[in-house]
């Protein structure tokens, strides 16, 4: 096999392969004119020319994935679907001054104004499709028209992502690798699970993020900063990434290489950002609604862990606390101070405030300090090496740090790590391995979002196919066999860890069947009802009394994924600090 491949690759230059290489499209990045051609923020609205620029393989990916997404229209959808429908109704039927005050539904508007404008825009066609969609009091409307319409808007707005990723290929150093990475990002299981089944608009917003990163790559840093400011006003979770943007733009754009301030550039960037924020917040500022808006955006009333523990450091700490408690109870260790509230917290299992029984409790300020401290390390490094690659790595690490140590992190936030990390996947073997571990555990950690049996097969089959198609071609190019014994052992452990996911999935699938026969049917099945979204009704959360047995698969998933994600975090930190 090996021999054959090498022979065939020797003879392959005669072949034309559209899927991976299109010689006419392989433009080297060094082409300076290219940046101007593709890099302009307002790329010429040459639709016909642009359509001609799309290769057959790109059409293939777009059409096939769209068909699959169409088939997913009837799939499970979380409360986020109703959240967004309610926002359509709010923005359509209320004057702007009421947007951030309305509380007809429990799903109040809690995204920044650009997203509200975006919903306003979407609500106009919606009112033609079916006027009932935008009726404010028509709560939990779930006719086919609203499902088809909202699902279709997700697919349509995701074209921003497709466009940004397609632009990434043009002008990449190695287009054939960038093609794999772009395709893998467009087809990312995270987007399929979170956007097309669970329901959100991440594809659209990550499209803006990637567009902004693309501008940075193409040397148009002003546009990059502008787009990031726009993105922040769509969804404030991207603030996790803001420190890297701030340092990078300041160092690489506003300062000269020798460290002198370039006032012209600084002012233009500052103006651009201020303009964006004015466009977004201005109306509300004028109406004096800023405090109300901010209180909607930042509700500091949530616990350390989300219902289902996001697979981060706190998941490991919480799990360690649970284990220590058991140990303390069994061996009756006197020296340990056991917090009674923590004991009840463990029996409650998964929701509400997490209170530790053995380990000292964590306050929001602690998580904040740890996050900032870690980010500072990377930012200092970025300041010293303000290159594009370094910027993407620091960006990833900023998101990663927030995910690892943040307060009330949601598991969906892992996309903030996986998306920029993918751009670095093909840099070298070390980064590729990091990408593999983080992607596999990150995607798996999203699985509990879809707890319905019908979607179980979809998420597993799709993710498996995606992993094979992404990781294997890259692995063929990247993989280097470890040279020293410690690395061989580490390599083997990492492989073992990834193989362990098959067992974990088996356990998660089979456990409920066996648990059901042991636990009486009286146990509430509502447990899972709240694992699905950040918009869980607080009342529901507290009323649920789940059995520890039902929580076990979730906890195990969270802890197992956390191990991989923490390890990938350590890897990435070390690689960044040593190699960039």
């Amino acid at each position: 096999m090996q021999r054959r491949r090498s022979v065939s690759s020797a003879s392959s230059p005669t072949k034309r392969t559209t899927f991976s290489e299109e010689p006419t499209r392989a433009e080297p990045a060094s082409d300076a004119g290219d940046d101007k051609k593709h890099g302009g923020l307002l790329a010429r609205l040459d639709v016909a020319g642009w359509l001609k620029d799309v290769t057959k393989a790109e059409w293939d990916i777009l059409l096939v994935s769209t068909c699959l997404k169409l088939l997913l229209f009837p799939a499970y959808r979380s409360t986020d679907f109703e959240v967004h429908r309610n926002w359509l109704a709010i923005t359509h039927s209320l004057p702007m001054s009421r947007w951030y005050y309305d509380a007809t539904s429990e799903w109040t508007l809690d995204y920044p104004p650009f997203f509200a404008y975006f919903e306003k825009l979407l609500s106009i066609p919606a009112s033609f499709v079916d006027p009932k969609i935008v009726e404010l009091t028509n709560l939990n409307y779930d006719s086919w028209s609203v499902i088809a319409y909202q699902r279709a808007t997700v697919i349509a707005t995701e074209l921003v992502l497709a466009l940004a990723l397609q632009r990434f290929i043009r002008g990449a150093v190695d287009p054939s690798i960038q093609r794999i990475i772009s395709a893998s990002l467009f087809l990312h299981p995270g987007f399929l699970i979170v956007d097309h089944i669970h329901f959100q608009y991440n594809g659209f917003m990550f499209g803006i993020l990637l567009w902004s990163i693309l501008m940075a790559r193409n040397g148009n840093k002003l546009a990059s900063g502008f787009l990031f400011a726009v993105l922040l006003n769509f969804k404030h979770i991207y603030m996790y990434l803001a420190p890297a943007y701030f340092v990078y733009l300041l160092r690489a754009f506003c300062l000269s290489p020798s460290g002198e301030l370039l006032p012209g550039r600084f002012l233009s960037l500052a103006n651009a950002v201020i303009l964006v924020f004015l466009a977004s917040l201005g109306p509300f500022l004028l109406m004096g609604q800023l405090p109300q808006l901010l209180s909607r955006l930042f509700p500091f009333t949530r616990g350390l862990n989300h219902a289902y523990w996001a697979p981060n450091v706190w998941a490991l700490v919480t799990a360690a606390d649970r284990v220590l408690l058991k140990v303390a109870q069994i061996f009756n260790i006197q020296g340990l101070q056991i917090n009674d509230a923590g004991v009840t917290s463990t029996s409650r299992g998964l929701v509400g405030d997490t209170v530790f029984a053995v380990i000292p409790n964590v306050k929001p300020i602690h998580t904040f300090i740890i996050t900032i401290a870690f980010q500072m390390i990377y930012l200092v490094k970025l300041w010293r090496a303000p290159t594009y690659k370094s910027f993407v790595a620091a960006l990833t690490l900023c998101g990663y740090t927030s995910f690892m140590f943040g307060w009330h992190v949601h598991e969906k936030a892992i996309l903030l790590v996986l998306v920029p990390l993918s751009l670095l996947a093909a840099e070298n073997n070390a980064l590729f391995r990091t990408f593999t571990i983080a992607s596999v555990s990150g995607v798996f950690s999203l699985f509990p979002l879809l707890f319905t049996p019908a979607e179980t097969f979809v998420k597993i089959a799709y993710s498996l196919g995606w992993a094979v198609l992404t990781i294997e071609p890259l692995s063929k190019r990247m993989y280097e066999f470890p040279t020293s014994l410690p690395w061989v052992i580490l390599d083997g452990l990492e492989r073992l860890y990834i193989a362990g996911f098959a067992l974990l999935q088996l356990f998660v699938t089979l456990f409920p069947i066996f648990a059901r026969s042991r636990v009486s049917a009286s146990v509430s099945h509502n447990v899972t009802a709240c694992v699905d979204g950040e918009h869980c009704a607080p009342g529901v959360q507290n009323s649920v009394e789940p059995s520890a047995l039902e929580f076990l698969p979730l906890m195990l998933t969270s802890v197992y994924c956390a191990v991989g994600l923490v390890w990938a975090f350590v890897r990435l930190s070390v690689i960044y600090l040593r190699q960039f």
């Binding site: 054959r4 293939d60 019908a454 094979v468």
Partner: protein, 627 residues
């Protein structure tokens, strides 16, 4: 996995056979290839060829499951519901009732009317399902149950049957019928067959188990190609025993086996004939055992038989794109004739419809038998029965002719039954190059067949799935309905048909049907689809004759072909490559069958090669339209 030729050897071979379209397929300009080929090519280039088959099966399973997320026939329509409830009801009654009551229990409510294998499989599914949750199949109480969990279980049974029977059958088919094609071509064929939109929509959307019946028939056809006639006969009887629609194939299968007996000569032929007869009867007896003595009186057989062949029903139901329904617009058959006369007429027309295939097959088998007999007698070598009959290349066309004639002319046909003729047509399409007539016709008929089921699918709430599957499949095979590639009759025909299809869809959404013609859109649909199916039937007969001529089974020139077997004629050649076919005469194909036949006959052995030959001529700037 299927690779017979190392990649590296291809360029060399290509030079050796530059005129051959078969080996040129990798180097042809990529203009006319579909996504399936682009993707497999990319996979091979990435060194992932060993992953292609498993990924294709995984992707197909994903698509099937996603279709299943949608609604099914009769969802939320009490009191009778639809096919879904029928299948579920059979699981319910088979696990609760003694076998003798299966065909007699409460016939008004979806009484069992499929042959016993369906009942047995229903029983198995029911037993497993009842173990998971007994309420899904509680006798009488579970009627119309529509819980999400029971739906998932029912969908899972279809996917499981499909994965256990149809998918392996397709893999087996591709290996046995296209074994001498490149692995990429085989993988493309696999994708084409696995994602056939009509079948997926009906089985995984509407809800039926056609893949089992079709998979068993396909297995039997592949068994014939591999020379295992008895196994093939068993598989076909099981197919018949699963769903009586497999009867549409029976004339073709029967005449193939008979032709093989004929071609073997008197002694061996008779031996094989009796073996086949005994196997067939034994398999049938085994399937119907509970209704046969000593387990039941002989009259008990009438219960399943009477249910399986319901002649008391009408000539046709709903709006089906066959001869009767289409001509009914002008000719009011049911007023002119009584039911028995209609049954006779339809039986006569059906027989007349499939007779050409049967006659050609038998005559061709006989002629080839006689022709090679002289050569055999000279050498006094007994003919091996483990090789397929020389008329094997006729089999797909015969299957198509016979099933299409049943669809067009027989009694009590449903619109879903178009899946039966679609199978052989898609088999032919899967082996054809993108420019060939077979490919274009196959793609057109597949699309029109899905279109002909539009009103059924719309009623089931599967309009979105209908659209998605059509786009997906056409993109994958590389068929753009709205583009004229060559200025040929076929291209104009297909674009006209597609134009009318789209027009009808548009009209249906914006113009409500007039009150005195409420069925105008279904009728127009039938009037468009029927001629397309009719053309397919005629084309199939024409191809049967052409291929048999190519085999040398017709005409006097066939006597000149006898050649002594060449060395290496047993089994695969060292690199079993298709290019060998270009040598003038008598060398084997990788199927390992070739005792002295001329090259034309050999070429036709490979399914797609019949078309490949034509397109190679065409690419050699011969622009004459052959078909």
């Amino acid at each position: 996995m299927f690779a017979t030729i190392p990649e590296a050897e291809k360029p060399r071979l290509t030079v050796a056979a530059s005129s051959q379209s078969l080996s040129a397929e990798d180097h042809k300009n990529t203009e006319d290839t579909g996504m399936a080929r682009r993707w497999t090519r990319w996979m091979h280039k990435q060194g992932l060829r060993h992953r292609v088959v498993s990924l294709v099966i995984l992707f197909a399973a994903l698509v099937k499951w996603c279709i299943g997320l949608g609604s099914y026939s009769g969802q939320g329509t009490p009191p009778m519901f639809g096919d879904y409830e029928a299948q579920r009801h059979w699981m319910e009654l088979t696990i609760h009732l003694p076998i003798r009551e299966w065909y007699t229990y409460d016939l008004k409510y979806w009484g069992l009317d499929y042959p016993p294998l369906t009942a047995y499989i229903s029983w198995l599914c029911g037993i497993i399902g009842a173990w998971v949750d007994p309420s899904w199949f509680a006798l009488d109480h579970s009627r119309g149950i529509e819980t999400p969990a029971s739906k998932i279980y029912m969908r899972a049974t279809v996917l499981a049957c499909d994965t256990l029977i149809y998918v392996p059958a397709i893999v087996f088919f591709v290996q046995s019928w296209q074994g001498n094609r490149s692995s990429k071509t085989q993988q493309v064929a696999l994708l084409t067959l696995l994602l056939q939109p009509g079948l997926l929509l009906i089985d995984f959307g509407h809800f039926q188990y056609n893949t089992v019946m079709l998979g068993l028939t396909l297995t039997s056809v592949s068994c014939f190609a591999a020379g295992h006639d008895l196994l093939g006969a068993v598989a076909f009887v099981m197919s018949l025993g699963f769903k009586q629609m497999a009867l549409y194939y029976a004339p073709a299968i029967g005449s193939y086996l008979l032709a093989k007996c004929l071609s073997l000569g008197a002694r061996q032929g008779a031996q094989l004939f009796f073996q086949l007869a005994a196997t067939t009867v034994a398999t049938f007896a085994l399937l119907f055992l509970p209704w046969l003595p000593p387990f039941a009186p002989l009259s008990a057989m009438l219960e399943p038989i009477g249910r399986i062949f319901p002649f008391q029903r009408g000539l046709f139901e709903d709006k089906v794109a066959n001869f009767w329904c289409a001509s009914n617009v002008v000719l009011k058959w049911r007023i002119w004739m009584n039911a028995p006369a209609l049954i006779k007429l339809s039986a006569g027309l059906t027989a007349a419809g499939f007779l050409p295939a049967v006659v050609v097959m038998l005559y061709c088998g006989y002629r080839l038998g006689v022709a090679s007999q002289t050569a055999q007698d000279l050498k006094e070598i007994p003919k091996p029965t483990s090789r397929p009959a020389p008329v094997l290349p006729l089999l797909p066309y015969a299957l198509l002719t016979s099933s299409m004639s049943f669809f067009l002319f027989s009694f009590q046909v449903h619109e879903k039954t178009i899946l039966v003729p679609l199978l052989p047509l898609t088999l032919l399409l899967s082996g054809a190059s993108n420019n060939s007539f077979s490919f274009k016709l196959g793609a057109l008929v597949n699309n029109v067949a899905v279109f002909s089921m539009w009103h059924l699918l719309k009623r089931d709430g599967l309009a979105l799935q209908y659209l998605a599957l059509l786009i997906l499949w056409n993109r994958i095979i590389g068929h753009n309905p709205l583009r004229i590639r060559q200025k040929s009759l076929m291209d104009y025909l297909s674009i006209t048909v597609y134009g009318i299809c789209i027009l009808l869809h548009v009209l249906e959404t914006i113009v409500p049907p007039p009150s005195h013609l409420p069925d105008i859109y279904p009728v127009l649909n039938v009037l468009l689809s029927t001629p397309v199916f009719g053309i397919t039937w005629l084309w199939s007969i024409k191809r049967t004759v052409e291929v048999s001529w190519g085999l040398g089974g017709l005409g006097s020139s066939s006597k000149a072909i006898s050649m002594p077997p060449l060395p290496g004629a047993d089994g695969l050649l060292p690199n079993g490559n298709p290019v060998k076919l270009t040598t003038p005469e008598g060398v084997t194909s990788s199927l390992g069958l070739s005792v002295g036949e001329r090259a034309a006959g050999l070429r036709t052995r490979s399914l797609g090669h019949v078309q490949g030959k034509k397109s190679s001529l065409r690419s050699g700037s011969v622009s004459t339209e052959f078909d």
